[in-house]
Symmetry: D2
Subunit: 424 residues, 4 copies
């Protein structure tokens, strides 16, 4: 871990400038009728879950280029997640992935408590074959034509719930790779019937206070069709299953040019928005750092979330889901958590009264300007001040680099080998 | 009209070759266990509706380049539709568009009877302003923020139903241009609530034996968001309205790369496939001739339709919807109707028993080959023989050209002027 | 026109706040080693051309919904352009479109001088048929199969040059709609040979101190192929023609997901970037207001331009090209000009030394952050101060609305009628 | 291997039907003025290279699900390639990938001679790190910022040439993963300068009778920018390097909706089409079986190739490049080779005289129909007869399955383990 002293020392050097910039921003917002302290308080209360798999270096089917000091166990991963939260104060929970992170629940809980981390939604994995596995998922899992494969996949999900209960999770996230690579390979209707049948069995095993999130994706690893290809199918699933089932939106899982913020609005309207996997993308499911490609799109998603904040029972889960192929994953996750906070803060300062008026009057230009004005506002001082007041770092990346955490764990952890990706 | 004698004379020259090719194909299919006569009978019984607006030359926002002898009234248009059906025997119904085609219902019925044409779904138009119109649709119609605009649009749809009843239509098709061009211009949720409210009023006025088709489209004429942007939203509408409401799928209204045949399967599975607007596209809503760009995709759609043929009550409406910018619209519509028949015939000869087996066994390669084998089969002789036996043309385009129908109507109809499109 | 007094009065009310915000921003930038005054000076010196056709309400193939007080002549249009420049000080030139704007050159020059406006690149139009025209462009213009059509199109371009010389233009912009709607309709190679042959004839008539810009576009109005479909073909044209020929990049003319800023970099590197048509888009050539959909993409383009500022002879033309379907065109053009200035200012404050270092070290995260930091900076006070010091409006839209310019010209100008678009 | 007797026995059962269908097709083509024997001869003379890596089961970043009897060495792979050619007679050459296939050249040549296989273009690999490698390609190879990495990558390519010379290859294919994942990570211009500099060093080492193929790709494994992102950049490379450098077109490496056949035509026109990597795709670089998703697009590419057949010196390389994730790779490669032959045969029977006339007259409908007519023709009997006469299998997949080749090698080859893909 980084340590309070180190953080405090780094903050001390930056605090005066921060206070000046915070005050200047406060004055600007005050002229717009916005109380900067209230915004800061909401930002400070915001938390997003980190995916355990995100702290390892990601790769593509072509190659994986590991960095130094990669985590080799879930406990290493939790250490890294602890650093992220220690420095940013923005990531109080970790989302586990089973079987990658399978371990003694008591040990997981103890480690989480040690680091001040809780456990978010648990993720099942039926898109890979494990060494000890009886049946293969090569041709599908929950929607496979053969009953024994589907049963195995259902059982795995029930196992995940069981593990999750023991560590304090409250939700299960299902994403499957089921689909097809050739027209004709699957019967779309029968495949989806089988998926629904399996999902119903999992839902039947869901504790009363849990939620079930299903995730859609247009393509990859299947390249002609995907059984849960879009929000339309995802909505059907959530409706068929019941009240505790809802849809997870991953920002990179849509067809090119699709208006994602509108999908978010529709799911909210019909009570089926379960949560998010945040990341950014330019081409496909690129899993790039959140806000790195199109930050305005991220803001527009948060604009919908803030707009819906008063909807009774509205409480979507927020998680990051990224692949860090060329950066230190800890740095990327810290920055991404802060980008999400930034979008949230910007959405909070939208003048919603004015916006509603412009919408009513069809004043498209001023409605657009109202959003742009909030988006243009550099809310960095708000985020920094929220961190400072929590004892976290004003500049998490700089503080992290100065600590040489990575160098230290590199000395302790086994060297991770280069991977060839899936093509060979 | 072309005339039975002219058609018969043209057919006579081609008949011997056709019979030879039909017999050769019959032998090929017989070896696959398929009775060519049974396929021919189904093809002969198939009909698709022609859009009245399709017989005029289309255009873009940049320009419209009219051809000679353009129809100037709905009665001219019906004449052209009559020619299409006379030559192909494949287009027994015309789909009207109001107010473009508004006329005395008795006159429409009389003209239809004269030409052997019935009337398919009627289309309302609330995406343009008409000269006499009280309120403008500039900022929307069924979902407009102002009640009087929505009422006007609802009234127009009820008027369309009324007209449709008098001419024998049994369905109303609603497509609106409502959406937005700027983030923030509309509140997605409130806009959709207003849309649903208006649609419910129309549905309330729907005769018991009518169906209501709603059409989704990802973009154009709105370029940031569209109120019915995809099949997910379209499904919500159909579900909210009731049993007689269902979804119309236009093949060009989807995001790039989207798997359309899978959407078709989903809507069938959930009882909400209302019908089609057939056309083809490469980039956006290009409205190109059906089957001209990706004929295999068209076949895959028909593969789903034939697969679902035994679903009780399954009876989607089939319509063409194209923009003929560089061809004689009569020729394009004839060819397109035949392309749809071709895809239907190809889908009929898929070996569904074998396909189901390969799907069950996850034999992806042979499943694909089973579809490809049917698609590769040149079913032209079946289509031609079906036409010959109906007294229609073996080669409709050649017979049409030989008749100089276009030259004759060009002498009688007023000259249509070049249009500048919407940009000036 | 709006009038200096009205502007000054409006500015007076806002000046104190502006000075406070400008000073606060100056302090922030100073801590980064940036002199705000130097940035302001560059922004003040920046100008972008307004398209004459942009001041009329645009439309789609479905409809055009005109606003009140539409300009009916080029002189009306110049008045509107004058207002834009009077209020923003950012649009010193107008780009004419012939034949839409054809008029007595002396009158144009006189009007321009009266308004303080010059004339930018002149645009030819061979994508529409004009009433008096001998041959039709239905099947192409510069690349048409028939020699007389190509000659007519070449002549028209030479006429545009002639007109342009008389009014002080220094460049010709060619965009054609030539392409095809069906596979097979054109022979790609022969069509492009004909295009090049025609373009060479135009280039031969280009004055020594002129430049020729050719514009590529992936689709629309042709929907299967376009003769200048992408920057690759555009580059071939510029190379074949000669040194004074270069490529125009319209931000909405690319395939989905294409990295436009990289195309800009390539064209700069190979000496063939002629200029820009700025706008924004989500789906196709949506012609939305610049920066309204993806402002970070606009910034990334300007990042390339500032990066290349020292390349000898580097002087791309900057023009707006938008379709204003739901806003007052004057307002949209003012805002868009300011969005371009904003992106320019943000690109100016990128720490290029640091960026180069991070690139050299493959520190992807910090390189990204270096750009994001500049982008996040709200440079509005710089833009406002530049305007204030020029005697232009701190808030151009508010000042424009307060002036009721639109209401006044609506009383004087003929009412523009609703258009049906190209589809009927 | 399968064995002549087994093939002959299988053919015997199918020969009578084939002869009947061949004769019937011959009669059809004869009526169109086409000599079926001449088409058959050209098809029989056509060969396409198989990629050595294609005979192993492919995977994605999520997982790889190996099949039974996977090849474990290049000699196993050559055995599998031998089977493909034995059965289809369509794949006389293998394209090696180094270092995956690195081996004693004399052994490779001997094995090739034993199997009747030659060696096509050799492929270098600088997108993965090898165990013994000094410098990492994590941040690029030919375009890396550090000279020692670029040198290592250049050296590797020179090594590939050296190996290729010894086994009879005549071309080097370069595809790199270089690019970036974040805006700002690389300087586009300097990165491309470095790429060109490295490529020039490789070109300098190219034997006089060799060709250099460079391959472009829009994204993956880099997700924000790719150094050779499209054919425009690829063309610049080929032009900068010299006459023996040309562009390789992989059908799956383009932005969505891009007109690939037009790119092919442009590269032919400017003398820079080097060859193809054939496959099919729906979303991205899906590497699906050739012709499985959009067979008409494949035909349109071959239409350009046949159109250009008389261009002096025109001799593009034809290779397959696919990832077989859910099929037996031998079956997929056989089918894909036959799909390419099919597209070639269909393109050969296009009535080019008629097509040229329709193009000249702008008869778009009949031009389209001329292509469609050839495409609709089921040329299967031509392909089958060409195989029968060569002693290859009428039905390669059925004959292969009956031989149980896969079962036999599964007994001999080591079991391949499931792969986790690049993500963990």
């Amino acid at each position: 871990m980084i340590g309070k002293d180190r953080i405090a020392a780094a903050n001390e050097a930056a605090e005066a400038d921060l206070r000046a910039e915070y005050d200047a921003l406060g004055a600007v917002l005050d002229r717009r009728g916005i109380d900067i302290a209230a915004v800061k308080e909401k930002v400070a209360g915001y938390g997003i879950a980190v995916p355990s798999w995100g702290v390892g270096t990601g790769g593509t089917r072509f190659a994986r280029f590991p960095g130094a000091g990669e985590p080799s166990t879930i406990f290493d991963k939790l250490d890294d997640c602890g650093v992220i939260h220690e420095l940013t104060g923005a990531t109080p929970r970790v989302s586990l992935h089973v079987p990658w992170d399978d371990a003694n629940p008591a040990d997981l809980v103890a480690k989480g408590e040690e680091l001040g981390l809780g456990f978010d939604a648990i993720n099942s994995n039926t898109f890979q074959d494990q060494a000890e596995q009886a049946a293969s998922y090569k041709f599908g899992s929950l929607s496979h034509t053969r009953e024994e494969v589907r049963s195995q996949a259902v059982e795995h999900n029930l196992y995940c719930i069981e593990l999750g209960r023991k560590i304090g999770s409250r939700a299960l996230t299902i994403w499957v790779g089921d689909g097809s690579n050739f027209p004709g390979q699957v019967n779309f209707t029968r495949q989806f019937e089988r998926y629904l049948d399996s999902a119903r069995q999992i839902y039947a095993g869901l504790p009363e206070d849990w939620r079930l999130f299903t995730e859609h994706k247009i393509f990859e690893p299947a390249f002609y069709s995907t059984v849960v290809q879009d929000w339309g199918t995802n909505y059907l699933i959530a409706t068929e299953l019941g009240d505790r089932a809802s849809c997870l939106v991953d920002l990179g899982h849509h067809a090119p040019t699709v208006n994602i913020e509108m999908i978010v609005a529709r799911l909210i309207q019909f009570g089926k928005l379960g949560g998010f996997h945040f990341n950014d993308s330019k081409y496909g499911d690129d899993d790039l750092d959140t806000g790195s490609i199109d930050p305005y799109r991220l803001f527009l998603v948060f604009n919908e979330l803030v707009e819906a904040a008063d909807v009774p029972g509205f409480d979507p889960a927020h998680m990051l889901d990224q692949s860090h192929n060329v950066t230190d994953p800890i740095e990327s996750l810290m920055n991404s958590a802060m980008e999400v906070q930034r979008a949230y803060a910007q959405a909070l300062i939208v003048d919603r009264g004015a916006l509603g008026g412009f919408q009513e009057e069809n004043d498209a230009l001023m409605a657009s300007e109202t959003l742009k004005r909030a988006f243009r506002t550099d809310v960095t001082p708000i985020l920094q001040m929220a961190r400072l007041e929590k004892g976290c770092a004003i500049d998490p990346v700089a503080t992290y680099r100065a600590s040489d955490y990575r160098g230290k764990v590199a000395d302790e952890r086994p060297v991770s080998t280069s991977g060839g990706g899936g093509i060979v």
